[in-house]
Symmetry: C2
Subunit: 461 residues, 2 copies
């Protein structure tokens, strides 16, 4: 009996040692592969040059524009150059909204006329040639507008809600203040206002207005909607205190032209062991029209394309990997919805969906919208990321384009770069190639590639 | 007996609960204080405006220059405005090196003349009016020069050693490649070369040469030394392959004028319980002359000044806190040495020294040059920093200016911001205010203030 116990003990020890040893070997293999991916991205990477091309040779690419089509064809040919197993376009109807001539605006008060930096909100109707002129009522938030909106009947609504800079996450600030831009014009339309102004959703004080989508509610008058720069919001607010009867004039020339055909661009490596299990990763191809969409979401496109290039070159995936350039994230999400619809229709089993749509900044980790088990599973790989200063693996937001896959219980994972600099230039004329750092961009690519590699190799509980 | 056991068990449980409860209260108090420091820095902070003033109203501030003196007086008056217990200047002799007229250089090869972007290395002798012209021998490293240096006798030495971009830390790359700039001119002088060129210590390919100090060895001929931009290093190397007999011409107008009096600037809050225990934190006041020294080390100065402002406003320290603007880090370290000399002479017990000299980028944590116990002690506070995405608390480099305190067994701690963008512009004309992000700067201030607070409150084992 005693001997048996000793044998049992020895056996357990041996098995434990064996398991531990196997795990160490696996960890060490993974370290080697991840190091390989990072080294390739940092020393032979193509991400920075690809981003330069996208920004400088193509440029802004609003849904339905000629430039969006150019970017569709360019990313398709780039995927083809990687010699993936298949590359295709996924047709989808997208709204075509155009800005028209540049906007203009001024404050007309008892101290004179003051020019104001404005931008029409995406999806907004224009003012017509005459523009809109009227008195202004300032509100501190959408809630404030909902409570005492009747004061603004026949006037222009101005929501002046600064971002809450005390928060660490600028993304959270944006989420909190974003409702003013999204829903403000509808609320203002309901109470009979003639125009809508929102303070730009920006973290710095400057003269750059931030555009972004708004949505009109059903059966509500559509009134012209603009954003003004943070500096101008302060000026308007101060002038209103001195002269509550001042008038504001603005002219916008934008219009919604209706739906046109466009495409998601999809590239696939078919898995060697589980070809029917998909891991999808992507960014959105469309951008606002004010600049090159370098961070939003050029960086996310490039992160995803480079992830595919890195994995194709360095690894043989067991599962099917898909890179997707989603169309129309900015003003409709048609691409993301269509991708999810087709995935359901074709009964494709997606074991994970990753998105990069938070800029090309220093990656800190991943934000995970999945079951607690899946989150723990990803966190168990944390040590492998520590040499690259990635420590953030928390429950959180995945991404807009992959969002529609949530109904199919797909774990959604967002690359999480530092967002401190993002809302200084998000949706403004400042979002150009020059403000993206090559090493920060490259690290984002390697981070995404490393997580896709681990999910492919081990699956995701 | 059984009852006694139960009593003992109850007692232990009660004591444990009490200790746990006390610890929780302390942790919670600390969380509240740290949140206060971050909120103050992010919403009422003065760091960004102070950095603007330093960069735009004062500008470059090389040791011994008029601008350095202006910055000394300005930081002194800023400290005085915080109503510290004492503020003083600590006299110290510093070398006064001047660049003189802007440098010029060209390659003269069988394909024609090519203009080259150069900068004299700090402390270098100038070429005289005629400049230096000669054949060029390329070396891959200092070691390569040491091995086959005789080939360059009567010629110009060119060390073309790119940074090792496969490493994660650009600081490590810089450390590895820095020896070429520091020691290259001496080695080249030894073997009878007539001039020295180093490839800029930069992580990006561009036209900006990076300056930085070099040192001449004793009894070695002092030959003129320059850095060329990374793009130009590639060009020169390629041209040398095509035409090994090409000539290089450069003219520099710099000279070392000898020592002049300057100052460290010191501000102190005297501790309420342990006034004879000091916690010192600082950055260096001098900068290179090519730009505004915004990241190097304007950000470190401002981090430290704002740390003092935040603590003075929000906390009553037990120990004596000292903020120091060290002079002459870039080309001599006279300030750091003098501070340490006086600390020893006055038998001041420094329990910790912190420095910020890695730029005003996103803070990731702290790099600690101290005993394993002290490192563990700091790591035990890690959880308090997690809400701010600070995860890096590792053994490493403290800082140049606080380095001389190491002989007195002082734990040295460097603020550790992400260094990915640092060596794109370090020591170049690009190091200006506009490339510092306000939130990243503010987070650095609050991070430093939080660690000083914890060290003050709990001491450091």
């Amino acid at each position: 009996m005693k001997n048996n116990k000793i044998h049992l003990f020895t056996l357990i020890t041996l098995i434990s040692t064996f398991i531990y040893y196997q795990k160490s070997i696996a960890q060490s293999e993974d370290s080697v592969m991840i190091k390989k991916l990072f080294t390739d991205a940092l020393t032979n990477g193509e991400s920075y040059e690809n981003l330069r091309y996208l920004c400088k040779e193509i440029g802004p690419r609003l849904s339905g524009s000629d430039n969006a089509q150019k970017a569709i064809l360019w990313t398709k040919s780039l995927m083809e150059s990687y010699e993936l197993d298949s590359v295709w376009l996924q047709p989808v109807m997208v709204p075509k909204w155009v800005r028209g001539e540049k906007e203009s605006a001024k404050i007309i008060s008892n101290s004179g006329k003051t020019k104001v930096n404005v931008t029409a909100l995406g999806n907004s109707v224009g003012t017509g040639k005459k523009g809109v002129r009227g008195k202004v009522v300032e509100f501190s938030s959408l809630e404030d507008l909902q409570q005492r909106g009747e004061e603004a009947k026949g006037k222009i609504v101005f929501i002046n809600c600064p971002m809450d800079l005390s928060l660490l996450s600028t993304g959270t600030m944006y989420g909190n203040a974003g409702i003013n831009r999204h829903k403000g014009p509808t609320e203002a339309g309901k109470i009979g206002a003639i125009g809508f102004i929102v303070r730009s959703l920006g973290t710095s004080m400057d003269d750059f207005p931030h555009t972004g989508a708004t949505q009109y509610g059903l059966n509500v008058p559509k009134i012209p909607a603009i954003a003004i720069s943070t500096n101008d919001a302060e000026i308007l607010s101060k002038e209103l205190q001195q002269d509550p009867g001042l008038e504001f004039y603005f002219r916008t020339n934008c219009e919604m032209l209706g739906d046109v055909e466009s495409y998601n661009v999809v590239g696939q490596i078919t898995g060697s062991e589980y070809p029917d299990e998909y891991i999808v990763f992507g960014g959105h191809l469309d951008s606002w029209d004010l600049a090159e969409g370098a961070h939003d979401d050029g960086a996310g496109m490039i992160h995803s394309l480079e992830t595919m290039r890195l994995l194709k070159k360095n690894y043989q995936p067991k599962r099917s990997l898909r890179v997707v350039m989603f169309i129309n994230e900015e003003n409709g999400l048609a691409g993301g919805k269509e991708y999810a619809r087709l995935a359901a229709e074709n009964e494709e089993k997606h074991i994970a969906a990753l998105e990069s749509d938070s800029g090309g900044f220093l990656p800190l980790g991943f934000s995970i919208d999945a079951t607690p088990d899946a989150i723990l599973n990803i966190q168990s790989w944390g040590q492998l990321f520590q040499p690259y200063n990635l420590f953030y693996f928390k429950k959180g937001y995945g991404g807009a384009d992959i969002g529609p896959l949530k109904n199919q219980d797909v774990p959604l994972i967002g690359l999480y770069p530092s967002d401190q600099r993002y809302f200084d230039m998000h949706h403004t004329a400042k979002d150009v190639f020059e403000i993206v750092d090559h090493r920060e961009l490259e690290l984002g690519c390697a981070s995404m590639a490393s997580l896709v590699y681990l999910i492919d190799k081990y699956g995701l509980k």
